[in-house]
Symmetry: C2
Subunit: 408 residues, 2 copies
């Protein structure tokens, strides 16, 4: 049955091969460094959670996107769609944790979403949660981390757009959007960048918001006709931490229901159409919902897949630096021994496992793009030397093995 089928990764998912992983691992290492400079410690939670936990505060659009299943004990489970909910579970069930709690994560998650450019059903995020601290300095700190994370991995110019759910709620109130229609209305407004104002107005109308109310709402937002003192304070605090690229923009609402105040997005200058690469905000009621007592909290997630598409991958990564080629079968054992010594010296090395002759071994070296070859023949064994060839220049030197590091 399986003989003829061409197997692929499931729709909306993908494999990462060594070239992509080399870039991803480099990016992750830089990010870990930044998180830890700010005192954040990494956490890792199971891939699946009780479905009820995930659904409790995700909002109807996201609930539909959860990969849900029953285990063989009839427990209803779901794949993590977001790392914030499991982290709130940890905090709620460990009330003795010292505050503020600074947790970060670098992990995959899953949403049954329509696959599209830069969007996957399995996707990776790095992010943090700062729990127990309220006030402008806490929100400013997470902008500081986001700023340093992005600066550490890309030269692209990016900027933050900050807003506040609380202020938008007030504007919605003044514009006359009824409370019952606000969650739907905010999800519509969240798509402003992607679909434009006309489409958002259409969706608002379908949510039961009249054109007149929409007019008033957009007018107030554009004029920033509201008390934005809270946002100015965050902006100033973040500037003291070295974040210079912040714009206050009340059209930012974020589509997730659990935000209660400050929210932000991060755009790449000139590539705004890509959408936000790093987004988050304050969610002061979520932990209480999971039984932990109310705790102020703020955090963000940074989409790794989109970020890597922007950064681009390294060319042709292959870890081996030296291939030890054996001229004939008699010296293969010596090649094995020299390969082992090179590894002990911390140099990535390999030798032939395919019973290839010397010509085929060099075809392999070229196919892989391995930068150096050590050539072992009977004469070299006798002289206790090796021939080192620089594959880029073709230059060969007969040297002592112990001196090899000087030649690489």
């Amino acid at each position: 049955m399986t003989e003829k089928k061409e197997w692929q990764p499931p729709r909306g998912t993908r494999d990462y091969l060594p070239k992509e992983m080399a870039t991803r691992n480099k990016v992750f290492a830089k990010m870990r460094r930044v998180f830890e400079l700010y005192g954040y410690g990494e956490v890792s939670t199971p891939a699946f959670e009780d479905f009820d936990l995930l659904a409790a505060k995700s909002g109807p659009e996201i609930e539909e996107e959860i990969y849900a299943f029953e285990d063989k004990g009839k427990r209803k489970l779901g794949l993590r769609f977001d790392p914030t909910v499991p982290i709130c579970r940890i905090v709620a069930s460990n009330p003795s944790l010292t505050k503020p709690i600074r947790f970060y994560y670098i992990t995959n998650m899953w949403r049954y979403d329509r696959p599209q450019a830069g969007r996957y059903r399995e996707f990776w995020q790095a992010g943090l949660e700062l729990i127990g601290a309220k006030g402008a300095n806490a929100d400013a700190e997470i902008l500081g981390v986001a700023n340093d994370l992005l600066t550490s991995v890309t030269d692209k110019e990016f900027y933050f757009r900050i807003s506040s759910r609380k202020i938008i709620e007030e504007i919605a109130e003044r514009a006359g959007i009824p409370k019952s229609k606000r969650e739907g209305a905010f999800r519509a407004i969240d798509k402003l960048d992607k679909v434009g104002e006309d489409d958002v107005r259409g969706e608002l109308e379908r949510c039961g918001v009249t054109a007149k109310v929409s007019d008033k709402f957009f007018d107030l937002i554009k004029k920033q006709d509201a008390d934005i003192g809270e946002l100015k304070e965050i902006k100033e605090a973040a500037e003291k931490m070295g974040v210079k690229n912040i714009e206050i923009d009340l059209s930012i609402v974020r589509g997730i229901d659990y935000y209660t105040g400050f929210v932000f997005e991060t755009l790449v200058r000139g590539s705004e159409k890509l959408g936000s690469v790093c987004s988050g905000g304050r969610y002061d009621s979520l932990i209480g919902l999971y039984g932990g007592g109310d705790l102020p909290a703020t955090g963000f997630g940074l989409g790794i897949d989109r970020l890597l598409d922007i950064i681009g991958y390294d060319e042709d990564y292959y870890p081996t630096r030296i291939f030890v080629a054996a001229v004939n079968d008699e010296v293969r054992d010596v090649a094995v021994k020299i390969t082992r010594i090179l590894r002990e010296e911390g140099i990535s090395a390999e030798t032939d496992l395919m019973q290839r002759n010397l010509r085929k071994q060099f075809e392999y070296i070229n196919a892989r793009g391995i930068p150096f070859a050590v050539i072992i023949g009977p004469r070299e064994v006798e002289e206790n030397k090796i021939v080192l060839r620089d594959m880029a220049t073709g230059k060969e030197d007969k040297i002592c093995l112990k001196d090899i590091k000087e030649w690489l």
Copy 2:
């Protein structure tokens, strides 16, 4: 509804908090280094695959353990229970990959297993696949990598037990175990270490193997009454690569159906009851099964959870090295600035976000075990100096910020 419930990770899974993650990340970094010294490149595959792909060669016991579900497009999917199958999918659908292929992985996977000490339903493995190479040197190479991996992370004495499915098949033939009963019989024998010979004999009887046949089988295995030339060759080749701790033991069969020849286990001397920490073998028919044409292949997986239990976790990890304490509210802005400068110097630092007074700030420093405090007061600001306190000794020095690295 969610207010009162005490939320936990799903049964058989667990959270990793920063202390555990710090140890795990250190172990992973060392392992990546070893894999790459041997020329292996990391790959990462989706958490779920087509169920049919997973089930094709897993054997009935494992198939029962797969977390299976339908996505909303009615595709039958399953969570990865093993990384070898997805890697075979990649290789089968990319016939142009240069051989030998050296892939490694460090990833989580899932089995709906009875939870027990050291066994989880979500568990982590590091491992490799060496694809395209046959012969003793290839099998010896993977023992070399396993040996270096374990040596890089633990001082415990461990040893390899190697065997061969082919040889055991021959012994089963000679003992008179019929072909149709062998898969069940091998899974029974695989439990020898855990349950002892009597229980294995009982299970063999239930599989339809008579006591007389069992007697003969165990007799042949114990006497190593078979042609074990293939295993001697692997042992010698591995010894040339520096692996000294290999025992030939024909009672090792491994419970997975896809092995075709060489198999091995790794035990910690004196802790054999823990079971194997690193196991694998040769599977020359699996890639052909996924449509890639037959390719010889050998590989292993190393259980991270069990390994970390053996190694033990670092004590009380917290990333921050310096807490910048503000004596009063007037100097908080200076504390923010100094914290920022410390981070720019590559020193993990934080300052108060909780509006705590100086005494409370020091309670926090002690609760966290942060090793150094910088104390900022109006006089220090005036003198352009900082007070650095070593929290272990209580010793304080008034220094210039630019000299701080000399004092840590």
